[in-house]
């Protein structure tokens, strides 16, 4: 049963409240996590040991991102602020103050810009605020965004999540009414809008090259879209609200996490909460596996940049770090094996092609 042993997850205990976002750094040696307990934590991805915390927020921390070289960390919080931290010593480099909670933040692919998504609440309009980062002196930032993308409707269509595309070219947003939108990141012009889901969009995560993305929704589905064409590529059907979804590098898989909201669990048949993480085949859209463990809904998911591990953060306050066994990484459909074998044959023996021709 060695495969079972290697699959045993590492429980990351440290947060006292539901997790809101988890993220690996580019190198993959560290995991950053934020929760409703106001703390930002950083962990070693190899053994799950906590390396440290960043203290300074006074409310739920909704979102976290880390720079390419793990020099600085950025967070968005319900305390109406966004903070730029020195990753190494946890010191606050800069604080942006807003008029409503900051729900999401993300650095542009080149780390020259970042956005904060501020909530449509307290009489404010839901807005994506893009700031230019002063990288020569991180403690001296501008309070003036270079661009603001405002929600054009009422709170029922407010943006809930957002992400950068390849080259920092576009901003993709997910909305409370289930629609997804693409904006030009330099002009703010709305380029595409699709009613992708029946209910609110809970997460948007891009592929490694940021040319396509997966979006998840409370309507129990998740969908894969091309960024340039905004064409629907794939759809994954779950049996519970999906709170987070991500695309695994190396393997053609998509991970979905969610579960029944606590208030609805007792009304569900059999009392099942369906708090498992589901593995789907990205291309064939089939569910090929599921990983149980959390005893509340999964709120957030993130995969290691080389695809060998992933981490989930739950409403139960725990993080579960899974190092994937060889059987998972070796798994292939027959057609995939055949296709790979054919490619090898063609690569290794170019003469074989000539004979056929």
């Amino acid at each position: 049963m060695s495969s079972n042993k290697s699959m045993r997850p590492i429980l990351l205990t440290g947060h006292e409240r539901p997790l809101t976002q988890v993220k690996y750094n580019r190198e993959g040696d560290l995991i950053f996590s934020v929760a409703k307990d106001q703390h930002v934590c950083v962990w070693y991805s190899s053994n799950g040991e906590r390396l440290g915390t960043y203290d300074g927020h006074k409310g739920t921390v909704w979102s976290v991102d880390v720079s390419l070289e793990t020099e600085f960390v950025v967070t968005a919080s319900a305390d109406f602020s966004g903070i730029l931290w020195n990753a190494e010593n946890g010191k606050i480099l800069y604080t942006w103050n807003f008029n409503s909670p900051a729900k999401r933040c993300e650095l542009s692919p080149d780390n020259k810009f970042l956005f904060f998504l501020t909530d449509q609440a307290m009489g404010q309009v839901g807005t994506v605020k893009i700031f230019q980062l002063n990288t020569s002196d991180l403690s001296k930032q501008s309070d003036e965004p270079v661009l603001e993308i405002l929600n054009k409707g009422d709170a029922s269509i407010k943006p809930t999540v957002a992400a950068w595309s390849y080259g920092g070219k576009y901003i993709i947003t997910g909305h409370a009414d289930g629609s997804i939108t693409k904006y030009d990141a330099t002009t703010g012009e709305e380029l595409n809008r699709v009613k992708a889901f029946k209910e609110t969009v809970t997460d948007i995560q891009t592929s490694s090259d940021k040319t396509y993305f997966v979006a998840s929704s409370k309507d129990q589905t998740s969908r894969l879209y091309d960024i340039d064409t905004f064409e629907l590529l794939k759809e994954y059907l779950s049996d519970a609200p999906v709170n987070s979804a991500c695309i695994t590098p190396v393997k053609d898989f998509v991970l979905l996490g969610g579960g029944q909201d606590a208030k609805n669990v007792t009304t569900t048949a059999g009392g099942e909460g369906r708090f498992d993480c589901k593995i789907f085949h990205k291309i064939f859209e089939d569910q090929i596996g599921r990983i149980k463990g959390h005893f509340g809904p999964i709120n957030c998911l993130s995969t290691h940049p080389d695809g060998h591990s992933f981490v989930s953060g739950g409403e139960d306050g725990f993080m579960r770090l899974h190092h994937l066994p060889k059987s998972y990484l070796d798994f292939q459909y027959e057609v995939e094996k055949t296709a790979e074998a054919l490619q090898h044959q063609n690569n290794e023996n170019p003469d074989a092609l000539k004979v056929d021709a």
């Binding site: 390849y166 090259d209 040319t211 396509y212 590529l233 053609d252 064939f284 459909y333 057609v335 296709a339």
Partner: protein, 66 residues
Amino acid sequence: SDTMDTNAALRELILQRKKLLNDWKSYRSKTIEKLDKFIIKRKEIELEKVKTIKEVIIEENEEVIE
């Protein structure tokens, strides 16, 4: 190929998956090509900016010689 002959439904499924796999591969290769062009274009734009700065400096040198 034996199972493909005996079970029509399975045959259909395998062919369908083969098609999906090929469609995905061609989608990805097109995207990667597009992305490469985009990156090259960005680099060219950056290089042009550098060239403009060089031209200005050369003009200043000519004035000193006179």
